[in-house]
Every structure is written in structure tokens, then in C-alpha cells.
């Protein structure tokens, strides 16, 4: 078990980069996902068609192909200089934006449409109505999906080593190669990822509990 003690610090150095990737990608996804989701619901149809195409590509391409495309593909174009980390965050972030856009769209749809109608009738501009009335309620509906997205992106960060990002999975491969203790190293890494997943899920569960409104569930609206 002394080997576990020896290996952990080496592996944990990779966790920092993993978290950087995770937060960067989720953050990008969140920042872009909100406008995308809103546009999906409210924008004129040319915009929606365009978004649909982007959506198709970002969600239809495997994550690893997106990583290759952004790092090698964009990198081979004159004038574009992306580091592994930047390319990885961009690839995973845009992909997450596509998924989160769908989440936002669904969450907006779950808020009683009458509220938005009433707000507009009272003269509120659309942006303000969304910000003050729809979003605060929509967040509650989006949380379960966000929890899932967290889990997915965390596992996708384990692919970033294929474009040269030195995160947890990279560190594991180096350690396994130099110590030849493949079993211990990979089982340890599996455990670390599992812990990170559980920690995140716990955080989201707490958030869901905190934002729960008694009497108002997060399920689909029941027909009256």
C-alpha cells in the first residue's frame, strides 16, 4: 500500500488539469448554452435552422473526433495557433454548449407559458422577462440535466490526452509505463474519477434540494 502513497501525488498532479478542462468546458457550455437555448425557442427560423445544423455536428461527431478536429484540424490552418488545452476546452466546451442549449430549451419550456405571456402583457421587454421570471424557475428544471452533463464532460476530459493535454489520464499512462504497475495505477485512476463523479453529483443533488419549491415539482406539467 506504500505504492498507493507513492503514486497518488503523481496522479493528483493531473487532477488539477482535469478540473481546469472540466470547469472550462462546462463554463463555456453554460455561457454559450443559455443564448443558444433561448435562440432555439425565440429566434426566427433561419437562425434556428443554422443552430440546428451546428447542433447536429457538435452532438453527432464523437468527442474524440471533435478533439482531433479542433487540435490537428484547426492547427493545420495557417495563422491559427491553439494549444492542446485551448483546443480541448474549445472542443468539449462547444459540444457541451450544444447539449446545454437543449437543456435550457427544455427547461424554458417547462416554465408555465402563461407567466411569460403575462409579463409581456404588462409591457416587460423579452430579455427582462426571461432574466427575472423564466430563468430563476428554469434553473430548477435544468439541474438534473446539468448533473448528467457534468458527469459526461468529466469523462470526456479523459480523452484530452489524445491531443496532448497532460491531465489525469496522461499521468496515469506515464506512471504505468515507468513503473509497469498497470493494475494498481489504472485501478487507482478509476477510483479517482469515480470519486470526482460522486463529488459532483452530490453537489448537484444539494443544489436540487436547495432550489426545491414545495408543491412545485420538477416533473412535466400535469394536465389540469
Amino acid at each position: 500500500m506504500s505504492e498507493v502513497a507513492r503514486f497518488l501525488p503523481v496522479l493528483l498532479r493531473g487532477v488539477g488539469t482535469t478540473l481546469l478542462l472540466l470547469v472550462g468546458a462546462l463554463g463555456t457550455g453554460f455561457l454559450l448554452g443559455i443564448p443558444v437555448g433561448v435562440l432555439h425557442v425565440f429566434a426566427p427560423w433561419p437562425v434556428r435552422v443554422f443552430l440546428r445544423v451546428l447542433d447536429l455536428v457538435l452532438r453527432g461527431f464523437p468527442a474524440i473526433v471533435l478533439l482531433f478536429l479542433f487540435y490537428f484540424g484547426l492547427g493545420s490552418i495557417e495563422g491559427i495557433h491553439l494549444s492542446s488545452l485551448q483546443a480541448a476546452i474549445l472542443a468539449l466546451g462547444l459540444r457541451s454548449a450544444a447539449y446545454q442549449g437543449q437543456l435550457v430549451r427544455g427547461a424554458i419550456g417547462m416554465v408555465e407559458p402563461g407567466q411569460l405571456g403575462a409579463a409581456r402583457a404588462l409591457g416587460m421587454p423579452l430579455g427582462k422577462a426571461l432574466r427575472l421570471i423564466v430563468f430563476p424557475q428554469a434553473i430548477r428544471f435544468a439541474l438534473p440535466g446539468l448533473a448528467n452533463e457534468y458527469s459526461v464532460v468529466l469523462k470526456d476530459t479523459a480523452l484530452a490526452f489524445t491531443v496532448g493535454v497532460v491531465e489525469l489520464m496522461s499521468r496515469a499512462k506515464f506512471l504505468a509505463a515507468s513503473t509497469r504497475q498497470l493494475t494498481l495505477v489504472y485501478l487507482l485512476v478509476a477510483f479517482i474519477y469515480w470519486c470526482l463523479t460522486q463529488a459532483g453529483l452530490l453537489a448537484f443533488l444539494t443544489a436540487e434540494r436547495r432550489t426545491r419549491i414545495p408543491g412545485l415539482g420538477t416533473g412535466p406539467r400535469r394536465p389540469r
Binding site: L56, V57, G60, F61, P62, A63, I64, V65, L66, F68, L69, F72, G73, L74, G75, S76, I77, S151, L154, K155, D156, T157, A158, L159, T162, M169, A172, A176, L182, T183, Y186, L187, V189, A190, Y193, W194, T197, Q198
Partner: protein, 219 residues
């Protein structure tokens, strides 16, 4: 530097491996998923806990790590898997964990009254499950399980990490050989997109077909 002819031929070789992989992994995943779901609903507690632990482990660990363990770690305990076997088993086990969740909630959504009625009529649990519960659960699980099948087509792209030259692996090789990175990966991505679209259309057809053969409309 190689020309487009050999690039495309290399990609097609990769595609055929991907298709074989996916064809083998989908049934494995569904069977494992159904078995796990049944265990989680009907089996005694120790088995239910084991099934839940399997689900939690698989869903909490990246597929890459699972594949590496199957391919590089298992041999040290005596189980030597070929690259293809490791990939298929890896994908099957991974998708099985997700399928089981969809199937489990589909089973749970069937009114318990049906099981009671079946038992009251003298049917054994097994027959009741087989003849009454499962067919309905299957229909309800299709959206979720279908979604997971789409995911499987996409994450089959990890097979090259265990030395199996699938479409994504071939893409990497051909891109490097031809130095046309952007074009090659774009083409590879589009091929996956087409496969995904095919699966999704198939699912729509399936759901449409089943909807028509459902007994009457619900209240």
C-alpha cells in the same frame, strides 16, 4: 504523403471495423442491461446492491479507463482478450449500465396491479415478467435505450486506444500520413453523423411501428 485514394480506402477499412464492433456491442449491451434491470427490480437485496454498484462504477469511470483495464490489466490475472473482444466487451458493459437504468425505470412505470393480477391468475413470476411486463417495458424503454445506442455508435471511436484500427483510428493514421488533418477528420465526423442518423431513423421507424400495434388509446 499519400493521396486521397489511399486515404479513403484506409478510412473504409476503419469503417468496416467500426460497423462490426457496433453490431456486436449493441446486443451485448441490451442483454446486460435487461439482466441488470431485472436484478435491480426483482432480485433479493444482495444482488440488487451488486447491480447498483456495477451501475455506479461504470457510470462514474471514463470508458477509456474501463477499456485499458479490460485490455492491459486483466491479462495480469490471466484473462487475455483480443483487441476486438476487449472493445466489444468494454462497450457492452458500459452501455449495459446505462440501458439497465432506462429499462429499470420502464419496468417500474408499469402499474404493479398488472403483476398482482398475473400472479392471482396463477402465473409464475418468470412467466409474468416474460409475457406481460417485459414487452410493455421494452416499448417504454425504447427512447432511452435508443439514445444509448446512438451514444455507443459515437463512443465506439475509442477502440483505437486498444490497438483496434476503427474509423477514428484510421482517421488519425490517414490524417498523419496525408497531412490533411482538417479534411480527414471532417469526413470521419460526417461518417459518424451519417451512422447516427441511420440509427435514429431506425428508432423512429420502430417507435412508429410499435405505436400502431399498441392496444387502443389510453384514457
Amino acid at each position: 504523403m499519400t493521396g486521397w485514394g489511399s486515404v479513403l480506402s484506409g478510412l473504409m477499412d476503419g469503417l468496416s471495423i467500426t460497423l462490426r464492433l457496433v453490431a456486436a456491442s449493441i446486443p451485448l449491451g441490451l442483454v446486460l442491461g435487461a439482466a441488470t434491470a431485472l436484478i435491480r427490480v426483482y432480485a433479493p437485496p444482495p444482488f440488487r446492491f451488486a447491480a447498483a454498484a456495477y451501475q455506479s462504477a461504470i457510470r462514474g469511470v471514463p470508458l477509456v479507463v474501463q477499456l485499458f483495464i479490460l485490455y492491459y490489466v486483466l491479462p495480469r490475472s490471466g484473462l487475455l482478450l483480443s483487441p476486438f473482444a476487449a472493445a466489444v466487451i468494454g462497450f457492452g458493459i458500459c452501455s449495459g449500465a446505462y440501458h439497465s437504468e432506462y429499462i429499470r425505470s420502464a419496468i417500474s412505470s408499469i402499474p404493479p396491479g398488472q403483476m398482482e393480477a398475473a400472479r392471482a391468475l396463477g402465473m409464475s413470476r418468470t412467466t409474468a415478467v416474460r409475457a406481460i411486463i417485459l414487452p410493455q417495458a421494452a416499448r417504454r424503454a425504447v427512447p432511452g435505450c435508443g439514445n444509448e445506442v446512438v451514444y455507443l455508435v459515437k463512443y465506439s471511436s475509442l477502440a483505437y486506444l486498444v490497438t483496434l484500427v476503427d474509423l477514428a483510428g484510421a482517421g488519425r493514421l490517414q490524417a498523419y500520413a496525408s497531412f490533411r488533418f482538417f479534411e480527414v477528420f471532417l469526413i470521419v465526423g460526417l461518417i459518424y453523423l451519417v451512422m447516427v442518423a441511420v440509427v435514429q431513423s431506425g428508432l423512429l421507424l420502430l417507435q412508429h411501428h410499435w405505436r400502431r400495434s399498441t392496444v387502443g388509446a389510453r384514457r
